[in-house]
Symmetry: D2
Amino acid sequence: MSSQSRPRPRYAYLGPTGTFTEAALRQVVSPEEAQYLPQVDVVSAIEAVRTGAADRAVVAIESSVEGGVTAVLDTLASGSALTIQREVLVPVSFTLVARAGTDLGAVGRISAHPHAWAQCRRWLAANLPGVVHVPATSNTAPAALLAGPDEGLPFDAALVPPPAVDHYGLHVLAGHVADNERAVTRFVVVGPPGDQPARTGADKTTLMVHLPSNQAGALLEMLEQFATRGVNLSRIESRPIGDALGRYSFSIDAEGHLEDERVAEALMGLHRVCPHVRFMGSYPRVDAPAGQVRPGTHDADFLAARRWVQDLRTGAAH
Amino acid sequence: MSSQSRPRPRYAYLGPTGTFTEAALRQVVSPEEAQYLPQVDVVSAIEAVRTGAADRAVVAIESSVEGGVTAVLDTLASGSALTIQREVLVPVSFTLVARAGTDLGAVGRISAHPHAWAQCRRWLAANLPGVVHVPATSNTAPAALLAGPDEGLPFDAALVPPPAVDHYGLHVLAGHVADNERAVTRFVVVGPPGDQPARTGADKTTLMVHLPSNQAGALLEMLEQFATRGVNLSRIESRPIGDALGRYSFSIDAEGHLEDERVAEALMGLHRVCPHVRFMGSYPRVDAPAGQVRPGTHDADFLAARRWVQDLRTGAAH
Amino acid sequence: MSSQSRPRPRYAYLGPTGTFTEAALRQVVSPEEAQYLPQVDVVSAIEAVRTGAADRAVVAIESSVEGGVTAVLDTLASGSALTIQREVLVPVSFTLVARAGTDLGAVGRISAHPHAWAQCRRWLAANLPGVVHVPATSNTAPAALLAGPDEGLPFDAALVPPPAVDHYGLHVLAGHVADNERAVTRFVVVGPPGDQPARTGADKTTLMVHLPSNQAGALLEMLEQFATRGVNLSRIESRPIGDALGRYSFSIDAEGHLEDERVAEALMGLHRVCPHVRFMGSYPRVDAPAGQVRPGTHDADFLAARRWVQDLRTGAAH
Amino acid sequence: MSSQSRPRPRYAYLGPTGTFTEAALRQVVSPEEAQYLPQVDVVSAIEAVRTGAADRAVVAIESSVEGGVTAVLDTLASGSALTIQREVLVPVSFTLVARAGTDLGAVGRISAHPHAWAQCRRWLAANLPGVVHVPATSNTAPAALLAGPDEGLPFDAALVPPPAVDHYGLHVLAGHVADNERAVTRFVVVGPPGDQPARTGADKTTLMVHLPSNQAGALLEMLEQFATRGVNLSRIESRPIGDALGRYSFSIDAEGHLEDERVAEALMGLHRVCPHVRFMGSYPRVDAPAGQVRPGTHDADFLAARRWVQDLRTGAAH
């Protein structure tokens, strides 16, 4: 029984069962292969890895349907080092559910978290004109109520994340409810530093960088460390450092991998000019195809340039 | 009865009673002078202004203790125009409360939202070593439980926002509980466009800007529109536009007021080179003293420069 | 006698008769329509306008066959204001001349200014292999010698500017002698400020700019004043200011006309951030077709942007 | 006779005897230690090194009193590689000379090259008001005339470079004649590539760089390769490439030495993004004290940054 001798990895995530985060986790590893450890909060999920209670955590890092993104960035940025090992996209799409026997035509009141409602407004106006919104405190809360004792609920149906349907044994009135069928939430898998995912050619590197000062131009100067090496950014967010008003750190996703010469040289530049840089992982990007690598910024270009300067120094080139 | 002829303004905010957002609202207007309309969610608070159900909304725009910041930015960026009229800072500081009769020394289990717990960790370790964390689903939830019927609660005390103390009639064990006494949450008051706050000399302007492309250098090019006019940024956050993976918009706080020439010219530059710019208000900044205005970027410098070029055109100068 | 009532304009230029500068002057105005005033030096040509001895001067501003470019820039930059009213291109091409009766096959020694020799080296190697170079002190000096008394000259033929052929009555052995048939020298017509040439849509503006400091980044900051308005540069030369080692001024040709909004706004930016800016004229460019105007930098874009900000200020736009 | 077995080095320079270039050459090596090979032209001086007729050449690279700077840059930029090994400054100061017996008070007409006249205008106005300028064709021409047979010269005195005084045995009326006592001409010693002067801590590196395109921003992008490594420029000049109108190359002096890490990395950046880069030597700068090295750009900073990235790659750092 080798499966006993090798314990299943433990994944902390924002619970309860049925959340979008669980949908992300299912893309990473099945419940058979791993222990799912639902947490009350993204901070708790991350801290579970730091304390050793979990091996990895799955948390949203860009989302308009599930909270905590700000807390994720802040929590990753301070405390002991963790690195991002993978990103996962989950479509922002809801399932309209009810108790068995409810007909779509009879739905007059729908329970939904306000974020969910905002994402489905146009669908609802087109398909259920006049339907009334009953706010829920979370995406899964109305699922639990529908699955509970048949007391007089103040609503007829609910918008819930797809993973909640099976778990709570709900009746589906409509699937793929969403106004913007391309909207996605981006999750990341974080773990202790160590196993760096190998370069794939379509990667992303996440950094936390402090600015040397809040003078005009300091932000530009930092970004030029990327631009001069042809490294594109796919995300940037300033965050107050908190120990003094007006000072800021930046959470950044750069295109490319630590093993790419252009990323490595940009990192060296940041290390020289910024008071603090935290490397938070290089991992395959799934949110977009790899951008075109700019001419002059392939590994071969960096190697040729280094060789040329070495030859100049030894007199072998002019 | 003059108070009847002039109805009190209605303020939507993230409820329930007792939140940090309520603390922000109290700085803006007292409950006697305004109607407080607690909302289940920040999106609902903003939409209440759009539908006319409220005159203004108070929402967090930078916070590590109360959620929804991402949703605030997204909701303000789309839909009908609203402008920011004021910003308000609330210290990130909790009150440790219990039922009457509870002694600090007897506290073994504390209920707290995980964000709250994270902010007070060091204080707790120093003052209540070994105390156990009982996660709460919101900052005010444990306050309501303490105020409720005296059934066996799974905790002895709770960390709650200061405004919750009076409302729920709680017993204070310790005030100003916080690891970082300078940490603050930043809230804004949003309302329909129209009454622009006058320039004070220490102002801030909030913008939503789309990038012309996701090519390398596009972000730099946009930021240079600020830098060449000496306009500092105090916040920048990229947000996926959502209609196509990889395209981004930027939420930006710039130092200065629409009436400042340097801000006006930077806005003109953005209008020329960016496919979309939304002006979201100029208002007095309270989160930091006014930065030094760079030489050459005072209003008088812009006016002198304009006059010089006009004189060159008419031949009055060389 | 209307020609008496209106005196012919006087043009100072680098003489003597037969220079490339004269070829430039002939493109501007014929000897019948103007007085040609040959000068011993470009500085003298420019000063002749300042003293009133001439109405205009024609001087080389970019050349590899006729000297004085550095002196032209320095002389224009200091002293009373003069503006550039026109630019003229002259192909860098020589005529191989001799006395009547000399055959190309019999040429063993050629007199040429070293600059001229350098421009024709490959042609000579192909057509007159083994021919010997006899250095001349100017382009026209050997023409004068060939036209002089038939004493034993130390050469058989000479490379001279095409205008020298007729003037000195020389025998042409070969025309259009040049290694690079596209090489040109650029001349400008300078005169007192006043008559600004009208905008043509393919113009150039010449400036002299001092840098605010010699700190790193000062040059970049100055150039960004052009780049943020989409103004291309076609020439830049740093020149030591001379009153203190290490400080520099910059002579710059920018694409566009003072009447172009993008040029006007760039000039305003320079006026704000640079300790000294001298406008030296906007005039039609002939050295290259007009560059593509970048999207967002047409006059209409600037006017629309200005109107938008004005509407924001009055509340007519959001 | 060891001096026979080791031939004296041969130095080509702009002659004839008595020029400012000779003054520069005397700073480098005395006439006893080297052969002085006067040339008719700077191009000839440089080519003498290429053909092996000279070991080194001394040529002006920034000057307002002696011509050929443009030709120097162009000649160095094309043809076989030469490197700059040293720079030399010569004060721009003239000697007013005459024949023996001439009294300063009796001077009514002065021969001077127009560049020389321009540099002494104020001195002459103050000391010899009303004196008449007789243009000379070079700085040394009037010295030769004064030293010649005593025929009726059209002038009484001449402004000549100090080295001409002794050579032509002239009578000094006034020394150190100059309006700007700090003005200098900058010369360089060029030779075949090979012996690279060692780093002194106050060095300069000369480069010739082609721009990847003439699009807006290409110049900025090139300059950012210097700025992001904290490398200051002390000179920049665009030069038309000549094979197509509108394309430009840039002659650049950067502060620092090839052996400085910040210069080496900037060179690598140029090598990657520019179609052509020619390294023309690192040598001690004498025209200004060494600039302050910007924090984060010392060699130690580059080495620490490189080590950090290597440690990230091997997992030894986070």
